[in-house]
Amino acid sequence: AQSVTQLDSHVSVSEGTPVLLRCNYSSSYSPSLFWYVQHPNKGLQLLLKYTSAATLVKGINGFEAEFKKSETSFHLTKPSAHMSDAAEYFCVVSDPSSGYALNFGKGTSLLVTP
């Protein structure tokens, strides 16, 4: 079985300050981990993915995430938030047990204030 827990349902940051969105996972296999972003009335977009290569993964728009097996975490970070980063962010795990269907967390809503 596999699952993800996003530790914060809402995160609010000021523009120009760092972003940290937290995610913990569980998997009986070596999982693939993803972060997806969903802007209002837009489709899901892949930010970055981890598939057992480098543990620090760089994605689009300045986001990155670090896979920490000992902590079963895959937190998403960005050094400096931009207003356009306001969106819903989903941490996702997949493994062979589900045919690589994606198992989504409940999401974290990121608010960026001026």
Partner: protein
């Protein structure tokens, strides 16, 4: 095509009616997935097709839900005798292969289903 397309974009139906949702995957993608997103929630996996193999139906919430796929092309998700709890956005995704976790799943824009 340029991306995954879904139709209709919006569907309003009355409780008890049947609905059919369509997904056109990206050409060449052998894997196709259906997900459901209820208001304020993450996505729930419904069903997965990989090439000509038998689909993985483990996520379907009840026997009112079914899906078909013709070869490696169009898929339809059918919900019979719709209930109000079926109201959600239904998302389709496709990828090159479902046999490896490294292939990105590309999502369609979704069909917003409202059951009155």
């Amino acid at each position: 095509g340029a991306g995954v397309s879904q139709s209709p974009s919006n569907k309003v139906t009355e409780k008890g009616k049947d609905v059919e949702l369509r997904c056109d995957p990206i050409s060449g993608h052998t894997a196709l997935y259906w997900y459901r997103q209820r208001l304020g929630q993450g996505l729930e996996f419904l069903i997965y097709f990989q090439g000509n193999s038998a689909p993985d139906k483990s996520g379907l919430p009840s026997d009112r839900f079914s899906a078909e796929r013709t070869g490696e092309s169009v898929s339809t998700l059918t919900i019979q005798r719709t209930q109000q709890e079926d109201s959600a956005v239904y998302l389709c995704a496709s990828s090159f292969s479902g046999t490896s976790g490294i292939h990105e799943q590309f999502f369609g824009p979704g069909t917003r289903l409202t059951v009155l």
